[in-house]
Symmetry: D2
Subunit: 243 residues, 4 copies
């Protein structure tokens, strides 16, 4: 087989909670993005990071053009993400096939909502309860290496109805101790791009040190990576056959 | 609008547990099929019943030809269902559009497994635990009249991975107190026919007296009802355009 | 069965081509919306019309609140549709379950693109060529009454790749004489609402007098009609079980 | 990234047409399987072949246990494939994740029909007409390297309705000169296994020398390859949480 080109990942984080709340800083002193990026590097992905406070949020056209998969964590500052940057990210996904992994509260990020076409609201509860993530995706590559389920001891709860289109491929369903369920691993195709939503990752818990969570993110990077194809032709075309 | 023709339903039950176990007979003295049929009649459906011990299991060609939607409950006697009858039911679904509602342990019935193309195994536990059925199907007609969820106080547990193809439309996901989840309301299209799998209904609990459960079965009858179309043409055909 | 409440339909048309081009006016002297509305009335639907030039494009909150299914035809004036009206239509669909039938060039309408989350571009050609619409949806209610295919003698061509998410249910695929194919009958679920895209209907051809085309629109109205359900609860919730 | 283990492919062919018809023997002197296998080897896959006339059709348990992806071509001898071998292949797919690529007339093979749960009939015509295969799968890995479409100058026609469940992912739609369309690249998940149906490949044309056709088969091998996961636990289980 052809040697696969190294996949280039950019991990984006608004990086505010970790700098504003000492308890969160204790868990993620360099930000959640650093922990995720560190894992992805260890798996051989060419990985960089970007954050809200950088110029253009660190997502210049040049950075995006050299990103195969964008990992996104945002929560309290969705509205502070510049619309021009959102447009740029959106186009890079739909028109050029960049993958997007939307983590946890990124369900309300501008770009994810735009890609879904729905408001993407959820039920939620911050009670540090147990989440058990069941694999329903059979032989889906994002489930590689996982058993029937894995557990996260303390997490924020997200509950149904999750206001998204039916996923093209549903990989995980979460059980929560407080009584709810959630479609927590969801695949979507949008234009040439692929999008994976993955639920876990509240900022007050050490979720992104969990080996199963990291493994899923790594698997998703591979699934999301662009496929080399010319951009489709749209617009007025001549007939291919005699009329 | 044209007045809708009355939908003709046949409720099939192996009707063994209710006759062999006095505790079950106490809950369903005339069988689960009678309770379900009684509700469907009250909703205006033309409803009859059929059981395993009748000649041809009560599913003669004539009965099937006059059935729009077949409701199926089976458990301990899947293997005693005649293959010829299974074939007849299968053809009536795929070739002529009869709907099938497979209830609870019917996940292992011959006809459901054949329609799925998978073994349809589940995890299970008889502990009378709480089941909370969440609606993820938004505006799906099978969810008509339901809130975000409904509960069944005591039920057998079925857990993932449920060995089925990804449903064409996923309407319900169950939460179980013991820690599992389950895709408990699943729509499938097969040829001209539509199939709905609905999880609840263990014989030792009065599940089929529950108003939400009954409502779902009634909604599903409407969703499953055949669409009037000529049977497709297959085989060798002439060109429709000059070659 | 409960008598079904009459479904209330609003047929919206930008109604510009028919007033600006005499050849089109000859085909549709009162606009395409009038022809479609007339058919829907004949099928028993409570039907009104609305057009771009009316105040608020005829889509006041009151009109929308009393519309179960909105049929939309637009082409040259997508950009002149007020964003506030688009928002209102969008909310009525996603939050309250109003159905949307997007016809032909409505693939580029603001509300359809927003619901899809993709740019929705197509290939196209105005050559009056033959379109043959194949039914791949088996027992789907939108195919009721149709054979394996139907033909439209003269139509504009739309060709793949149609930049939409994979439809939840694909009902029709078009064959075009000039060599292209198109997914021409596509179902989508968005929040509580259901959306049907139906390809045919270029303004220069008498497509909306075609009995098969009208039948499909009528079938789609029934499929799109809202399901009575309370609006979902989102936001912060208390546990349903002890933590 | 971890170096990927070489994917092990077995190309199965009934290998009858090529030995019985001199005109076909001229095109494929060593059988279609040899041509396909030769290409797959050139792409770095560990590839072997197997044919109907070998003991156990060349698909012993040992061969299957060492096969990651099985490519299947059959036509005139579907009924001569031993049921025990079919069962073995089926289990290896569903229970252990082996991939299956069903080519052309394999739509009527025992194992494909069993996996689908439907009869899988088609319209057909042997007229050597032009087939144009359109890519509707956006960024799907099976479309890697393809433009908007590719053509096969002479092929047998297969036409809709193709009696299969709605594919989990629809990658290709074919246009035929004689007026039909066909869903010609279809992905299905079955248990731990993945199945790809690919339409082209009538024995009387040199289709399996076509570079686009070969590329698709190679892409599909990668998509179909098993994911390393423990086999799911089914049956009676203990609660994971206090009841």
């Amino acid at each position: 087989m052809r040697p696969m080109r190294r996949i280039r990942v950019t991990v984006w984080n608004e990086f505010l909670h970790e700098r504003q709340d000492p308890r969160i800083a204790e868990i993620y002193p360099d930000g959640m993005h650093s922990v995720i990026a560190s894992y992805l590097r260890s798996q051989g992905f060419e990985t960089r990071t970007a954050t809200l406070s950088e110029p253009e949020h660190g997502l210049t056209q040049d950075v995006l053009s050299n990103t195969d998969v964008l990992v996104w964590w945002g929560h309290m500052a969705h509205d502070r993400v510049d619309d021009g940057v959102v447009e740029r990210v959106y186009r890079r996904i739909v028109n050029e096939g960049m993958g997007l992994i939307a983590l946890h509260s990124a369900h309300l990020s501008k770009v994810f909502r735009r890609l879904m076409g729905t408001p993407c609201n959820v039920k939620w509860r911050e009670a540090g309860e147990r989440e058990r993530i069941w694999v329903v995706g059979g032989g889906h590559p994002i489930a590689e290496g996982l058993g029937d389920y894995f557990e996260i001891e303390h997490e924020e709860m997200y509950g149904e109805p999750f206001e998204i289109p039916q996923p093209d491929e549903l990989v995980f369903i979460s059980w929560f101790k407080g009584g709810e369920v959630f479609r927590s691993g969801c695949c979507f195709h949008r234009g040439l791009g692929k999008v994976f939503y993955f639920r876990p990752g509240h900022e007050t818990y050490p979720t992104y040190y969990d080996s199963n969570v990291l493994r899923v993110i790594g698997n998703a990077v591979k699934w999301c990576a662009p496929v080399e194809r010319p951009r489709p032709v749209h617009g007025n075309v001549k007939p291919l056959e005699p009329l």
